[in-house]
Amino acid sequence: MIQLKHLSKTYTEKNKTFVALEPIDLTINDGDILGVVGYSGAGKSTLIRLINGLLTPTTGDVYIDQMNILTLKKKELNRMRQQIGMIFQDFNLFDQLSVYQNIKLSLDISHQKHQQKERITELLKLVGLQDKQNAYPKELSGGQKQRVAIARAIANHPKYLLCDEATSALDLKTTDEILLLLKDIQKQTGVTIIFITHQIEAIKKICNKVVVMDQGHIVEQNSVLNIFMHPSHEVTKSLVKQTIHIDDTLTDVYELIYTKEANESSILSNAIKTFQIDINILHAQVLEIVDDQIGYLYVKMTGKDIKNAILFLKSKGIEVNKYDRI
């Protein structure tokens, strides 16, 4: 379990101060895949670097399995870090080391002299790069580099894995492959993942919990399903809407959100008949979220009794929002 208590970070440079992270409290349970999402400058990268002590907080404490990492001596901190893997947006492999040597680095640092070769082969198989062990990073694609970085990060069987914009430099297809790999690894090893990104798309594919950050604050914290169903903060709403494109000039546009329980077609036709309204479907989309599905329906509603129609829809378990582009 990772506990962040009243954690903040202020950068001071030549009498100028910049608050990257306002004091926050956060608990990350074992086995979680926690997504931390927000626009750039929200404080996500600072947050993740405070967890493994790459940065020292201005105030507050970081507890990893009840151990305050700020009180650790350098050697103890280094041993602790072997329990916390980390991967990055730009992979950070060493150009002059082969794939094999890059992964070996991890085992050398933890003084794992025994059966190195077997472990590396096992890791390469896990990430699907058995045939690349003698290749150098420049010969690899972005996705392959991230696979090597993942193998390096999990080589010492860490309990936690920090992912700093791990898929942000990759194309959509590769992003999906990497997310799938992380999900697989999580299932096999039970590693706790903290996944930082500005792409809400990635969050919905692997995370079970989400923290939304804005300007150094945690503005919303919920399960993934609830974040997509009932986004409450403006930033969350705008992030969720990244996935949908509706003509801005249209008026009377409503957003209907429903889970798979709602049988939307008959509900809609009932609403049209009962309240004498017109419903034009502008856009429909089903989001696969972890093991759930959420339907999004963007409609233009016109007619006499829209107010009651909305109440009726809401009574059937459909979330109805007036659609405003942010």
Partner: protein, 221 residues
């Protein structure tokens, strides 16, 4: 060209190679050490204030000794050189202290720059793996090795230029010999002079070509 001229060229060549070799050893060891010291004491790597102060002090020294023109450095260093060489200012050994003091900061700066050119994320990756400073230094050395070899070659070739300057004020070596030969205007000694210059050029080209070959061979980036 007489057999005696050949002998003079040989002696000069031997002295020059000796000066290159000895200073190369000192410069590579101390330059690399100082470069890494600068790297590990900078603000990127440590938040300890006293280390930043050390960084600034070393930085100042490096910049000062890098800026002093070599010929002037030789003169300034005369007292030190006399102590180090038991009063023997002339000859190859007398040239070594100013050569080393002048070129080491030059190379140290290049080592430091090479280290700074490695994306900061790779340093973070090492630290996130729990690497000690010694291990970080080891991996960074491997990562920057091609760059370090190129930089060292530039330093060596500059050094050969410095050696000529040192020769001019009695440092011995091949350039000294070349100057003496070439001064004999119109005599057969001129040929020996040109021969000496050719050998110096050959040394420079050889170092450059060898270095390019090695860098190409080991560089994977």
């Amino acid at each position: 060209m007489t057999a005696y001229d050949w002998q003079l060229i040989q002696t000069g060549l031997f002295e020059t190679l000796y000066m290159i070799l000895i200073s190369a050893i000192f410069i590579s060891v101390f330059g690399t050490l100082i470069g890494f010291l600068l790297y590990f004491t900078n603000e990127q790597n440590t938040s300890k204030k006293y280390l930043h102060v050390i960084n600034q002090i070393i930085s100042a020294f490096v910049n000062i000794f890098r800026s002093i023109p070599f010929v002037i450095l030789i003169v300034i260093m005369i007292p030190v050189t006399l102590i180090l060489t038991d009063g023997q200012m002339l000859g190859a050994n007398g040239a070594l202290p100013p050569l080393i003091v002048s070129a080491t900061p030059f190379y140290a700066r290049m080592v430091y720059n090479a280290l700074l050119n490695v994306p900061i994320g790779r340093n973070e990756a090492l630290r996130s793996l729990g690497a000690s400073n010694l291990k970080i230094a080891h991996v960074m050395l491997i990562e920057t090795l091609p760059q370090l070899i190129s930089s060292f070659t530039v330093t060596l070739i500059t050094l050969i230029g410095f050696i000529s300057a040192a020769n001019a004020i009695g440092g011995g070596g091949l350039s000294d010999q070349a100057v003496i030969f070439l001064i004999h205007n119109g005599s057969t000694k001129q040929l020996a002079g040109y021969m000496s210059v050719m050998i110096i050029l050959f040394i420079v080209f050889f170092i450059q070509i060898l270095s390019d070959f090695i860098v190409k061979k080991i560089n994977h980036s």
